[in-house]
């Protein structure tokens, strides 16, 4: 009884908030998926499954797969960059750690759009990077760094890596220093300590950070537009366009429901795998 009460006090505000400001409003939008688009963009309340049939078009599956690939690559690179950085921060003297962490996130209090413009300045044909490469004699012709998938991935990695650092830091910091020291004292090489002691305990942090990058990337529509030159259609652009350009809310709702279902399945699979990996870490 006591535990139930405690549980209610902890859970009620958050779940209440989400119920009121997410579940109910979104449920209303999702009912539109069962009705027809009005001729001028409103909703005609005529029951139909047409929107789901339209959403089953391989065209949209293709867009999902391509954006999942881009988002997946961004996630991979973000983790590779963020992990050692987060690890380095936890090994810095304790009193500097919070400051180091804030310095990771601070650039992202500027503004997404002007950071993106800064990347355009760096990546374009006459940009800083091309000029440096030509100056160093690495290449004689400017490289096509902008308006392609490469630029989109760079933009996504740049903007979302800090979130991975935060997530990994949060899990890394928890590791018992004595365990690491004991492992090192016992003469285990650095990599073994990392693989056997540190990695299994931080896998949940890596997973959480990875999820952040993946979901934020797949839903992004500004980076593909500006750095990708609009040639790459991400799921974010697709759904945004259905609601705002095509003004087809029923179809947008149907596509969103598909997206949410697939993403939920991915997230649950990810959670199961993470738990298993963390469990194996504990067992060994």
């Amino acid at each position: 009884m006591r535990n139930t009460l405690k549980s209610v006090i902890l859970l009620a505000p958050g779940l209440g908030w989400l119920a009121l400001f997410m579940v109910i409003p979104c449920a209303l939008i999702f009912t539109y998926a069962f009705f027809e688009r009005g001729v001028y963009g409103g909703i005609d309340y005529i029951f139909t499954f047409e929107n789901f049939q339209r959403a089953a078009d391989p065209l949209y599956l293709g867009i999902f797969l391509r954006s999942a690939k881009i988002a997946g690559l961004a996630t991979l690179f973000a983790i590779l960059l963020a992990y050692p950085a987060a690890y380095a921060i936890t090994r810095a003297p304790q009193r500097y750690q919070t400051a180091l962490l804030i310095f990771v996130i601070l650039p992202f209090w500027s503004n997404y759009l002007i950071r993106t413009y800064a990347w355009i300045v760096m990546l374009n044909r006459e940009g800083l990077i091309n000029q440096s490469l030509i100056g160093l004699g690495v290449t004689s012709e400017p490289l096509p760094l902008l308006y392609n998938n490469f630029a989109v991935i760079v933009g996504l990695v740049y903007n979302y890596t800090p979130f991975v650092v935060l997530a990994i830091y949060s899990s890394l910091n928890r590791i018992n220093r004595e365990t690491i020291e004991a492992s090192e004292d016992l003469g285990a090489p650095g990599f073994t300590t990392f693989r056997r002691v540190i990695l299994p305990q931080t896998i949940t942090g890596v997973a959480a950070g990875g999820v952040f990058v993946f979901v934020l990337s797949i839903g992004n529509f500004i980076t593909p537009d500006l750095l990708g030159g609009g040639r790459l259609q991400m799921v974010g652009n697709l759904i945004y366009d259905q609601f705002l350009s095509a003004r087809d809310w029923p179809f947008g709702a149907a596509l969103s429901m598909f997206l949410i279902a697939v993403m939920m399945a991915l997230l649950f699979t990810q959670a199961v795998l993470t738990n298993r990996a963390a469990g194996e870490g504990r067992a060994s």
């Binding site: 139930t4 859970l11 009620a12 001028y40 078009d57 609601f243 705002l244």
Partner: protein
């Protein structure tokens, strides 16, 4: 009583009480104050102040980035809180068809007399029943005259010469993107028959390979920096490029252009329609038109203003000199109605093409 019911009940109570609290936050709008949503920088910075000084009506500006966004917001919220909106004509038309904008009482807007006669008979709203034109112009090709010959056809953009491959951009806004193909194929801009859409799709997917990018906000900068040599552009925006580099020029291909019109509408939800009409009237005054033409470098359908323009401006930016009779030769983009679904799918197909 099982324990598992407790959280559910608490939860229900919490939801109910929060809903009540929210309902209490609801209130009535202030009298004699209007809210205007416009693109940032699209009207004189001191306009609202002067309007308030002259009429005693308070006016507040809200900014939107695109037609699509403000349209979405007005549809979802019923337009509550907004009195006057600046949107492009197909959006004004859709808002009208959805019953979200009010009719304009010409007796309360005497400055309508400042408009060119051509601007009172626009296809989307003949007689300006619910919308007043604010600025208008064409969509054509903006190019670097020091790097290429003057382009003459839309095909110069859609199938560029070898030295232009990877150095051209197209507008990313769906209607104008498709518009380039429609004009090149000699079709109507508002034709959504399957045959036409298929032809346009094929043409645009082929054209995509030679593009530097789709861009509807920084294309003129790409000309200035030299990343691009030719871009599909709205005439007014090409002028921003011309202002930076005199070698940049604007031309309308032989197949023609669309006539774009940015309009002012009054929301049906407005609780202060008289004040809103006074505002529309104020904006249609000569001064605002002159400001728009000389600062934004857009043509306005305001005859009084265009006649008062400094001739030097037209010399620097030749497209500012286009006459209304030339403009109205071109077709306007219209709301696509039933054709929208098929149109949207075609656009997605093009944007998703590899």
């Amino acid at each position: 009583m099982t324990t598992s019911d407790a959280p559910r009940r608490t939860f229900a109570r919490l939801t109910a009480s929060t809903a009540c609290a929210l309902a209490l936050l609801a209130g009535a709008a202030h009298a004699d104050k209007i809210v205007i949503s416009n693109w940032d920088g699209y009207m004189p910075p001191d306009l609202l102040e002067k309007f308030t000084a002259e009429t005693g009506i308070e006016a507040e500006l809200s900014v939107h980035a695109t037609n699509e966004e403000i349209m979405g917001k007005v549809v979802a919220g019923g337009g509550k809180g907004y009195d006057v909106l600046f949107v492009s004509s197909p959006f004004a038309e859709a808002l009208h068809n959805l019953g979200l904008v009010a009719d304009i009482d010409h007796a309360k807007v005497p400055n309508v007399a400042n408009l060119y006669p051509e601007a009172t008979e626009l296809a989307h709203d003949p007689g300006n029943a619910y919308s007043m034109p604010y600025a208008w112009g064409t969509t054509g090709l903006c190019y670097r005259a020091d790097r290429m010959e003057e382009p003459t056809s839309w095909m110069d953009l859609l199938a560029p010469a070898d030295d232009l491959k990877g150095k051209v951009t197209m507008l990313s806004t769906d209607r104008w993107l498709m518009g380039a193909a429609a004009l090149a194929l000699g079709k109507s801009l508002n034709d959504t028959s399957t045959g036409t859409l298929t032809e346009e799709e094929e043409l645009l997917i082929k054209a995509k390979k030679d593009l530097l990018a789709y861009d509807d906000s920084t294309f003129y900068l790409k000309l200035v920096s030299g990343e691009a040599t030719m871009v599909q552009a709205w005439d007014g925006w090409c002028n921003y490029g011309i202002a930076e580099n005199a070698e940049i020029k604007y031309t309308i291909p032989k197949e023609g252009s669309d006539l774009w019109v940015d309009t002012i509408v009054i929301t049906k939800a407005s609780e202060n329609k008289d004040a809103a009409m006074k505002f529309v009237d104020y904006v249609l005054g000569q001064d605002t038109g002159v400001w728009v033409a000389s600062n934004i470098l857009y043509k306005t359908p305001n005859k009084a203003a265009m006649e008062a323009l400094d001739p030097a401006l037209i010399e620097s930016f030749p497209n500012m000199g286009m006459k209304p009779e030339e403009l109205i030769k071109y077709e306007q983009l219209r709301d696509l109605g039933k054709g929208q679904k098929e149109f949207a799918r075609t656009v997605t197909q093009i944007m998703a093409a590899q």
